[in-house]
């Protein structure tokens, strides 16, 4: 589904060039639940931004479902992301002046979908995430876990094939975090490819593969380790 080849990202500050991603070679298959880990400043969020197509200042090759992202212009990338990718944030990023239902509707409002269809999709999603009773509440009236549930519902409403979650439980208590991770597992079982960034070993266990980044390099990839292990065993 995703293939990164020699992908690099750096920031320039004056004459200094700071590298945040170095020669990333990574393949993520459809249906995987990948966890990206690493210390602060390792390049986890930068990698997520590249995958989310929010960042277009990288070099290298990025293939998404066979399409070469590096050849696309900004608008085409945004369009591809709009259709295929959903994002969940550590700070939920719900809009305060919108109700739960309106927040969930937000991604659809930027697509050419009729109002009745949107309403039906929102109703389905509220039902699916079991938050129908909260639909008219504002974010400030919800607990952190509930807010993140709404964040996930918003990310999933247009049924993306790739769900990116950047520290989705970073602001939550362990009980709420567990609930959210169960939700991710369920979505993965339903077919969504998930890439999450986390510091939590417990959360990483919900995934099928762990990638560790250090100073912008891929330091470890459990999939390759498995492959090496298999090779060794064979």
């Amino acid at each position: 589904m995703i293939e990164l080849k020699n992908l690099e990202r750096s920031y320039k500050a004056g004459h200094m060039e700071t590298w945040v991603l170095r020669r990333i070679n990574l393949t993520i298959n459809a249906g995987e639940f990948v966890t990206v880990m690493g210390p602060s400043g390792a390049g986890k969020s930068s990698l997520m931004n590249v995958l989310a197509m929010l960042d277009d200042q990288w070099r290298g090759e990025f293939t998404f479902d066979g399409a070469a992202v590096e050849t696309m212009n900004r608008k085409q990338r945004a369009e591809l992301a709009r259709r295929r990718i959903g994002m969940v944030f550590q700070s939920y990023h719900l809009l305060d002046d919108l109700t739960v239902a309106e927040n969930i509707d937000l991604p659809l409002s930027y697509k050419n979908i009729s109002k009745p269809e949107r309403q039906a999709l929102v109703a389905d999603t509220l039902d699916r995430f079991n938050i129908v009773g909260k639909k008219d509440l504002y974010p400030s009236q919800l607990s952190g876990g509930q807010q993140q549930l709404v964040g996930i519902a918003r990310a999933m409403i247009h049924r993306p094939s790739l769900l990116l979650a950047d520290e989705p439980t970073g602001n939550l208590q362990s009980a709420q975090a567990k609930e959210i991770m169960e939700m991710f597992r369920q979505l993965n079982e339903e077919g969504a490819t998930i890439v999450q960034v986390t510091h939590s070993e417990a959360n990483a266990q919900y995934g099928t593969r762990i990638i560790e980044l250090r100073d912008g390099w891929i330091y470890a990839d459990s999939a390759q380790a498995d492959a090496i292990g298999r090779e060794v065993r064979s």
Binding site: N49, L54, K75, H93, D96, L106, Y110, H158
Partner: protein, 829 residues
């Protein structure tokens, strides 16, 4: 404590230096708002509130014989003034003067003369005001008699200018209108030497001449005089009014002729009295108060603008305040910090505003076509006013919005929070202020476009004269030399002959009472008519007058040199007069009364011209040849009005020397009092509406600019506040065009709300403007209600202007929002 304040002030200065855009906008907004308000305050305080420069001025009153609904005035007919002088008991003394300044020709050592303003006053006029000449003496009783010694009192200004302040000027003989007069004194500078030569036209008095009320005087029966009086000790204005009211009945019993002087609803003139201070400022009071109201509206816009900017700034500094609070700063400490910044802004804005007002007042006084009385200079009062205003506005409009920050829970702000976007409270505060600002600006804009529309409509009214290449030269033919027709005619003919010989002159004619200037107005009308005679405009003309001015002859023949003193008295009537007096039939051959004992035969009907102003409908006018005017009427019109030479030129040329030579050749002692063009005469007649429409336009443009600045500030602030929200929106699929529209739409929504609110308020504008600026709003004869339809157009223009301003002001912040990088925006977590 002091060192803390100094530290806060230093920090405030550093903060402002770091935000030069905000600091400059806030200071300029304050400076312009306060500058305009202080300038108007200076004028209002100096004119409307300052006491008159006379001893015990609160005992002075103006006494009028006027319609009940009239504003404070002191107009009197000679008859009523004499009656009051004889019968009223409320006053210790009564002073009577002519009602306007007239031009006279002054020559000091014989030979060259020049025109100055003169006003005739009764002997008790100056003692009533409590004034004595600073040099010499007041008029004697003898000098006031019709054939008494000729004496003048000089104004301080004339004495200084023309006599170099010579103390030996008393008893010196000068020539006025070719006759010798003895200078009997010089009046002190405290006596106002300005007045009006015509309604709304300011003029300066050079000399005062003695006035004797005489029933034989042709102006005696008309309201050509003014009366001031000093209240008797213990008598109030109300008591004096009570006594005057009791004199109405006896007056009408003695002079039943005045029962014909009826106004609206058959109202009769009454004796009225007001404090003299009110009378002096009466003509300008409404205009000044209207201007003050307009300026206050502008100040309100400026204050709202400041509030919007300060709200934006304070919320932007919310995190800093939270940090300070977390580190131990009390609310009082934070408030002091914010006060220091407000104080710096107030002092800078107020100081600059004060400076601006000093520059604006002379500009206002010199450009205002209304005759603003001279005002005493008071320096500290406006300064206190400006600084007080600056502090109060900054405190209320600058600090209160920030109060919310101090009351807010600081915890979430320090943690960064999980929220994206502007909080409802923040948004509402800024939005409400913005809507209010737009609404006030719309009211100003619609008032301005109403006044501008009225002015343009007035400009489009045809004067009835072809003004192109028409030069106008005026001379004053007063005194015994020009008290008869023969000598006047000889002078006119000689000047015309001289002018006609000059190269570039195509045609010349003379008139007493040029269109849009002053002229004789008295009883007249058709001879064979059952209608009572009404007031008509009477104009003396020479042959060729209509052709020279481009006035069409609708029927009949031209005036010729053969229509002279020895032939049948003839007249032309204006179209309005012909239609009114002989509807449906020809006026030619009919007879009219025109201020003389013999009737005149109508030999032509001419197109209408506007005799006084373009705003007034053309009046019934009778034209008669100079050559056929009686000596007594000639003396009257020469005594009251200048004679005008209208010169049609064949090209553009400077006529000054030519005219001066032509007049000097005819009479070396007659100066050219005025040399101008007909276009200037027309322009001057619309100067007041033009001034008010331009002023309102200027205020409205300023309000529009401030609103744009406010919108820009608010939008910029909201974009900054909403950066994360915009990042989220981009992350969940919004494209940049949608973000651009999101921000623009918000600006447009606020503007639309403001426009709707302002439009509702603006519905009252035509009536309001009509009631307070009745003298300068031209309605085309249909009342101010007719402007209700044009006010819709005015509102539409205001709304369009506002919406365009909103798009312009919102575009840059919107573009900035659209270019937000989501990765940057979301990194703030």
């Amino acid at each position: 404590m002091v060192s803390s304040i100094v530290q806060d002030l230093r920090y405030a200065l550093r903060q402002l230096r770091r935000s030069p855009g905000f600091a400059l906008t806030a200071v300029l907004t304050l400076a312009l708002g306060i500058g305009a308000t202080t300038a108007m305050y200076r004028v209002v305080q100096g004119v409307l509130l300052a006491p008159l420069p006379y001893p015990a001025q609160d005992r002075l009153v103006g006494v009028a014989f006027t319609f009940p609904q009239e504003k404070p005035n002191d107009e009197q007919a000679g008859t009523s003034a004499s009656f009051l002088k004889e019968h009223s008991r409320s006053f210790t003394s009564v002073g009577i003067s002519e009602d306007g300044i007239a031009g006279v020709n002054l020559s000091m050592g014989g030979g060259h003369s020049f025109q100055i303003g003169s006003i005739k006053v009764g002997r008790s006029y100056f003692p009533t005001l409590g004034l004595q000449p600073m040099l010499g003496r007041n008029f004697t009783a003898e000098e006031g008699l019709p054939n008494g010694p000729k004496a003048v009192l000089l104004s301080y200004g004339l004495w200084k200018r023309q006599f170099n302040g010579d103390v030996g000027v008393v008893n010196r003989v000068v020539r006025i209108n070719e006759e010798p007069y003895t200078v009997v004194g010089v009046m002190p500078p405290s006596l106002a030497d300005t007045g009006q030569s015509a309604p709304g036209v300011a003029a300066t008095v050079g000399v005062w001449q003695p006035l004797q009320l005489d029933a034989k005087d042709p102006g005696y029966g008309g309201d050509n005089y003014k009366m001031v009086a000093r209240l008797r000790e213990g008598v109030s204005v109300a008591q004096a009014q009570q006594e005057l009211s009791s004199l109405n009945k006896p007056f009408y019993q003695e002079f039943p002729n005045y029962l014909k002087w009826t106004g609206r609803g058959k109202a009769l003139h009454e004796f009225r009295t007001w404090p003299l201070q009110q009378v002096v400022v009466s003509d300008v009071r409404t205009s000044l108060l209207t201007m003050l109201a307009a300026v206050l509206a502008v100040l309100l816009v400026a204050c709202l603008n400041l509030a919007v900017l300060m709200t934006a700034r304070t919320w932007r500094r919310a995190r800093e305040m939270a940090v300070r609070s977390a580190l131990g700063a009390s609310r009082a400490n934070l408030l002091r910090l914010m006060l220091c910044e407000s104080l710096v802004l107030a002092l800078a804005g107020g100081g600059l505003g004060l400076l601006l007002s000093r520059l604006a007042v002379p500009l206002l006084l010199s450009t205002a076509p209304i005759a603003i009385p001279p005002m005493p200079e008071n320096e500290w009062l406006p300064a206190v006013f400006a600084l007080l205003m600056a502090c109060v506005t900054t405190l209320i409009f600058g600090l209160l919005p920030g109060w919310g920050v101090l009351r807010r829970n600081t915890g979430p702000m320090l943690q960064g929070g999980g929220q994206a976007g502007v909080t409802a409270h923040q948004a509402k505060m800024g939005d409400r202020l913005m809507v209010l600002q737009v609404a006030v600006a719309v009211v100003l804009l619609s008032a301005a476009s109403l006044l501008l529309g009225s002015f343009l409509k007035l400009r489009s009214v045809a004067s009835g004269v072809q003004a192109n290449r028409l030069a106008i030269a005026q001379v004053t033919l007063k005194g015994d030399a020009y008290a008869g027709t023969l000598h006047t005619n000889q002078f006119i003919e000689k000047v015309m002959e001289n002018l006609n010989r000059s190269p570039g002159v195509a045609r010349v004619a003379a008139v007493n009472g040029l269109p849009l200037d002053r002229g004789l107005n008295m009883g007249g009308g058709p001879v064979h008519s059952e209608q009572p005679q009404g007031a008509v405009e009477i104009r003396a003309i020479t042959p060729g007058y209509f052709r020279t001015l481009g006035i069409s002859i609708l029927s009949g023949r031209y005036l010729t040199a053969d229509d002279n003193a020895g032939t049948v008295p003839v007249a032309f009537v204006s179209e309005t007069a012909a239609q009114h007096w002989w509807p449906g039939r020809s006026a030619i051959g009919e007879e009219v009364w025109a201020g003389e004992k013999v009737p005149r035969r109508v030999i032509g009907v001419v197109a209408d011209t506007h005799s006084r102003s373009l705003a007034q409908a053309p009046r019934a006018t009778i034209y008669e040849p100079f050559a056929q005017i009686s000596d007594s009427l000639m003396k009257t019109i020469n005594g009251w009005f200048p004679t005008t030479f209208a010169i049609r030129l064949s090209g553009d040329m400077d006529m000054a020397a030519v005219v001066q030579r032509a007049v000097s050749n005819a009479d070396p002692e007659i100066p050219v009092a005025k040399l101008t063009t007909m276009q200037s005469v027309i322009d001057r007649s619309v100067a007041a509406p033009r001034f008010f429409s331009y002023l309102a336009g200027g205020f409205a443009a300023f309000a529009l600019l401030l609103t744009m600045i406010g919108l820009f500030g608010l939008m910029s602030y909201q974009v900054t506040q909403r950066t994360r929200e915009i990042g989220v929106r981009l992350a969940v699929g919004a494209d940049r065009r949608q973000i651009l529209l999101l921000i623009l739409r918000r600006g447009l929504l606020l503007t639309t709300l403001g426009v709707a609110l302002g439009s509702l308020a603006s519905l009252a504008v035509p009536r309001l403007v009509g009631s307070v600026l009745a003298d300068v709003v031209f309605t085309g004869g249909g009342g101010i209600e007719r402007h209700l339809s044009s006010s819709v157009a005015a509102l539409a223009w205001a709304a369009i202007g506002m919406l365009v301003a909103a798009v312009l002001a919102g575009y840059l912040p919107a573009r900035r929002a659209a270019s937000v990088e989501p990765t940057q925006a979301l990194r703030t977590e």
